[in-house]
């Protein structure tokens, strides 16, 4: 195998009702476990995954918080969040449970250029 390709996962589903949110994180953790450099971009309703203080147990769902907090441990350190998606939902970056870097539209375009593979989940 050649040098590992850099992958960017774009997470655009909201938690925790959508199984999709968990399944996107599962791929990130699997890639990280294989030593593939992975970054995450939280976009659209995907930004809701990062919101602090979610009580998923109230709707009998397992919390994604532990999975999210495990990302740095697995070596997923580059986390980005779409500023526009945050603003649309009345959120600010200090309400997030992980230090994700806010990026604007043009920066997102530049960001996508830096990766060999982009997977949207």
């Amino acid at each position: 195998m050649a040098a590992d390709l850099k992958s960017l996962l774009v997470i655009s589903r909201h938690p925790p009702a959508a199984q999709a949110a968990r399944e996107a994180l599962d791929l990130a953790l699997a890639a990280a476990a294989f030593g593939v450099p992975v970054s995450l971009l939280f976009l659209d309703s995907g930004v809701m995954q990062l919101l602090k203080g979610q009580e998923s147990a109230l709707i009998k769902q397992k919390s994604l918080t532990a999975n999210l907090k495990a990302l740095p441990i697995f070596g997923v350190e580059d986390l980005f969040v779409c500023q526009h998606s945050l603003s649309e939902r009345g959120l600010q970056s200090n309400q997030l449970l992980l230090p994700a870097k806010p990026v604007e539209g043009a920066e997102i375009a530049a960001l996508l250029e830096q990766y060999d593979q982009v997977v949207t989940l």
Binding site: S12, E23, A30, V36
Partner: protein, 137 residues
């Protein structure tokens, strides 16, 4: 001749959407076109609701197309590696004989040509292919 050989690409194709989603057909058409164009498909990976394609139990009305059957025939006739995410499949009740027995379920509804395996198979496919293409969301 040698020149054109250089353009042969290895594709890894993932499908995320279920049988009812048009993406299931787009992915099949793309895969067929890739082979028709002389390219190779190193692996197909079925994730999320796409795992329903691996169920042998769905029945379509006679005058409607059966996308699951078309996928099955495409995979078998081209002897492709078709991996279904095992975690996504178990959650949605798509089990082969081994999993039905392991989890003590009364019936298995999946088997050849599908292979139940982990997400690592997708990661591996993306790393080794020239192009990784994802269909559906």
């Amino acid at each position: 001749m040698f020149e054109s050989r250089l353009n042969v690409m290895k594709f890894a194709i993932a499908l995320l959407a279920g049988p009812q989603d048009p993406a299931a057909r787009s992915a099949l058409s793309f895969a067929q076109a890739a082979l028709d164009g002389g390219h190779q498909i190193s692996r197909l990976f079925f994730y999320r609701d796409a795992v329903h394609l691996a169920s042998d139990l769905a029945v379509q009305p006679q005058d409607e197309s059966d996308i699951a059957r078309e996928w099955r025939e495409f995979i078998s006739s081209n002897e492709l590696d078709a991996v279904v995410c095992i975690a996504a499949a178990l959650r949605r009740g798509v089990l082969n004989e081994a999993e039905a027995s392991r989890w003590e379920r009364p019936v298995a509804n999946s088997g050849q040509p599908w292979v139940l395996s982990g997400l690592g198979q997708w990661v591996d496919a993306m790393q080794s292919a020239d192009r990784a293409v994802t269909f559906g969301s």
